[in-house]
């Protein structure tokens, strides 16, 4: 059983590493294979390999060891290292980013709820409470406190819903004091950051012009 297999297709050259082989064997076989290739090489142009590790997650050190071996040959480089698997932590992070999270709780004075990704909020934020999320914030509940989308610094996100009773609306680093800015009472309010980096209030019907990316994402 070979632990390193060279494949070629229209995307270029691929080095497929057997997921059950030991890493030392792989290194050894890789050297043998590349030695042979280097000896046979008829061109002088650089060949760039995709390294496929299948169901093996390589550590940073292993990645570096591979890079070192391959780049020690004059005409060979690594294009990228691709695994078919990711860690649970990464998977969770991906899932967090893509899901719309439902939040139904009451966020009280002095409490801060920090979320990742988009949030559909059905609860109550009391005065002094804060709801922060890295994504967009869609509000069907009541906001009497502080609502922040794009936490901590993404100004491309929006806060949607009834915001007239909130204390503050924040997007990224931009802050609107609701009492001073007085958005109209409307459950279809969209708070966003405009080209001048100022937090502004618009209407849901104008979302296409306000934030085309989000508009297409939600299939409007």
């Amino acid at each position: 059983m070979q632990s390193v297999v060279l494949r070629g297709n229209q995307d270029g050259y691929q080095l497929v590493l057997d997921q059950s082989a030991g890493f030392e064997d792989i290194k050894l076989e890789l050297r043998t294979l590349l030695d042979k290739l280097a000896a046979d090489a008829t061109t002088t142009s650089t060949i760039s390999f995709d390294v496929l590790t299948a169901n093996r997650l390589m550590t940073q050190d292993e990645n570096q060891a591979l890079s070192k071996i391959i780049s020690s040959y004059e005409h060979f480089t690594i294009h990228k290292i691709i695994a078919d698997v990711i860690t649970i932590a990464d998977a969770t992070r991906l899932k967090e980013q893509d899901n719309v999270h439902l939040v139904t709780q009451t966020i009280r004075n002095g409490q801060t709820l920090t979320m990742k990704g988009d949030v559909l909020f059905l609860g109550v934020i009391n005065e002094g409470g804060r709801l922060l999320t890295s994504g967009n914030l869609f509000i069907m509940g009541t906001v009497l406190g502080i609502a922040q989308a794009g936490f901590p610094s993404n100004e491309e996100k929006v806060v949607m819903g009834e915001l007239a009773k909130a204390q503050q609306v924040r997007i990224g680093e931009q802050i609107s004091i609701v009492e001073a800015d007085q958005p109209e009472p409307d459950f279809q309010t969209v708070a966003y950051v405009n080209d001048l980096h100022v937090l502004e209030y618009g209407k849901l019907s104008d979302l296409k012009t306000i934030n085309p990316k989000l508009y297409h994402q939600i299939g409007g």
Binding site: T106, R108, N109, G110, Q111, N126, G128, G129
Partner: protein
């Protein structure tokens, strides 16, 4: 095994101590054995409100530090035939003289001897608050119709939700002025209850007698005709599991008269 109830609020001056004294006294009037515990170490005054200040020999810090047995530190209220006792706070120590485990230990010991252990919590949400909550089975959150008091109550409800007690907390709205509520100058009872999302245990109207009686060291609940005293007696009955309709308030809209507060059931 008795039940321990912490009387807390977050904000100062909303009537925690007065409420502790009156609820405790009302329960004693119903024939229950009650121990009031003053946890406002450094600024004790539950003893003054009860008129027991000149009988104090030992205090809670003496008990914790082993200078006195718990039974020695309890001050008996002679008006109530062996039913009402006070464990006074220390004057010359601060809130850090006690920690949560010590407070819980004392409360647990008292629960063996009494039907109710009422814990008078200091203002704030620091060590004193943590001590008071540590030994409690349930909480009564005292607020007034003022926004600042409601905000602080909201904060405290949040803290209690994070570390839930054995039983659900209840709300006591104190210092209600009927005409101000009727005119919409302050939040009304429904608004406060709904805003805090905590079941209502009872309401107490603002009455000059509350201050006058506490200055004499006689809880207002002893005055049979007084509306504030009536409110505290209703609360005590609800704590005992009775169904008591919410009292009428002079000068307010009739909409919430029909409302019945929620009450405790003894576990």
């Amino acid at each position: 095994m008795g039940k321990s109830i912490v009387i807390t609020s977050g904000k100062g001056g909303v009537g925690k101590t007065t409420s502790s004294a009156n609820i405790g006294t009302a329960l004693a009037l119903m024939g229950k054995r009650v121990c009031l515990v003053d946890l406002d170490i450094g600024l004790r005054n539950l003893d003054v409100v009860l008129g027991l200040d000149n009988r104090i020999i030992y205090d809670i810090v003496d008990v914790v530090e082993g200078r006195a047995k718990l039974a020695q530190a309890l001050v008996k209220d002679k008006r109530f035939d062996d039913l009402l006792y006070l464990l006074p706070a220390a004057q010359n120590a601060d809130k850090t003289a006690l920690n949560e485990e010590q407070a819980k230990e004392i409360v647990d010991e008292l629960k063996n001897d009494f039907d109710y252990v009422i814990l008078d919590c200091p203002a704030g949400i620091e060590q004193g608050f943590l001590n008071a909550v540590a030994g409690a089975d349930t909480a009564i959150i005292v607020t007034t119709p003022e926004i600042s008091a409601v905000r602080d109550a909201d904060r405290v409800v949040g803290l209690l939700e994070k570390n839930p007690l054995k039983e659900e907390s209840h709300l006591l709205i104190n210092r209600i002025r009927g005409h101000m509520m009727a005119e919409g100058d302050v939040m009304d009872i429904d608004e406060i209850t709904h805003h805090l999302g905590v079941p209502l245990l009872g309401i107490i109207v603002d009455d000059d007698e509350v201050i006058a009686t506490s200055n004499r060291g006689e809880p207002v609940v002893l005055e049979t005709e007084n509306p504030a005293g009536h409110g505290y007696r209703d609360i005590a009955r609800r704590i005992e599991g009775e169904t008591v309709p919410l009292m009428k308030i002079q000068g307010t809209k009739p909409s919430f008269w029909s409302r019945i507060g929620h009450w405790f059931r003894r576990g």
